[in-house]
Symmetry: C2
Subunit: 217 residues, 2 copies
């Protein structure tokens, strides 16, 4: 392990950046955030493309390696720092499969379909309905599955990768005016998570690059 | 481990079912396939919903557990049957992170955006252009990354989860008329994989539920 502090290239409102912030905080890893303003196209600057040729956030530079793709990064944090901070996966393979299933329902089944660039491509007239539809459809499935798997959190009573992905997705649901009263289990777990310090500190409105007018009360 | 043969609920052309078929074959696990015809809505039958309440394929019943979400299932197969057949992840956490990054570029970054139900929702007039766009965009990024990571396969010279996801995605690229001459590295790896017996046997045209007119020569 390198002794240099990990560097996270991040945008305050990117849900994939947010996932990695939560995971780093849950692991108790001190890190430096370098904001990349997606609205200003800073992810397409020569300087950033030299670090991340895909021009995406998040990028995490850790232990001498440059990593992208949020779930892959979080799996790395769990493997390389297993005994540090919060364990993000249970021990048993069948239980790990359940946590990864819940994670994938969000990370492949919902998030990619409602991200801003996809919604923009659908067209200005349809983008809100489009995002709303995919979050709603995904949450219907997730709510049903969480009734079987959840305790205080998505999987039983331990915080896991699934929870790390859940909170940013519920925030996005709010942006698309999804009626969360239809999803009492998701809402209950989200509330419990938002009381945890790592989840508080990772919120978009706690980030240096969040514009003042978007900070929560 | 239960001694019952695993049962895979699958549709011959579903790329996520295909991924799981490849992984089961690479692990040398004998399994029974039960075809679920998505075009006929068999995934919405009471009988199937009792097994998989989400009405999705693939579902794998293995070791007494019912699992969904293809990457989660493949991670399970690797963990529960690590020493059996082909290893699907390297040992080092930083190398595992690369394999998972490549996997996620396909499983979250491309596949969800070009699946038939999403393309249908975009509209009949735009669906081919839509699917083509997302595969092309994803392959541009993947081709660039594979130049750094690949050997004979996506990650060095060992078959991994990334390869399991690559082959069905290249097949879909063909359905959307993506010009694969732009992606020599992806094409080369795909060719090498298609010579492997597990990848041959997992092909859609080798499945019992493939209509005769769609079988390859």
């Amino acid at each position: 392990m390198s002794s240099a502090k990990p560097v996270l290239y991040s945008y305050f409102r990117s849900s994939c950046s947010w996932r990695v912030r939560i995971a780093l905080l849950l692991k108790g890893l001190e890190f430096e955030t370098r904001p990349i303003n997606l609205l200003k196209g800073e992810n397409r600057s020569d300087e950033y493309l030299a670090i991340c040729p895909m021009g995406q956030v998040p990028t995490l530079v850790i232990d001498g390696h440059t990593m992208t793709q949020s779930v892959a990064i979080i799996e790395y944090l769990e493997e390389a720092y297993k005994e540090r901070g919060t364990r993000l996966l249970p021990d048993l393979p069948v239980e790990r499969a359940v946590v990864r299933e819940l994670t994938e329902m969000i990370s492949s089944g919902i998030q990619p379909l409602q991200n801003p660039s996809v919604c923009a491509r659908v067209g200005a007239d349809r983008k809100t309905e489009w995002g709303h539809y995919y979050i709603d459809r995904g949450f219907q499935a997730l709510e049903k599955r969480l009734l079987e798997t959840s305790g205080k959190y998505c999987f039983k009573n331990s915080i896991s990768i699934a929870d790390v992905c859940l909170v940013p997705q519920v925030y996005n649901a709010g942006r698309f005016n999804v009626d969360m009263t239809k999803y009492p289990t998701i809402s209950r777990i989200n509330q419990a998570l938002l009381e945890q310090q790592a989840f508080i500190d990772a919120r978009p409105d706690k980030q240096a690059d969040c514009p003042d007018e978007l900070r929560m009360q």
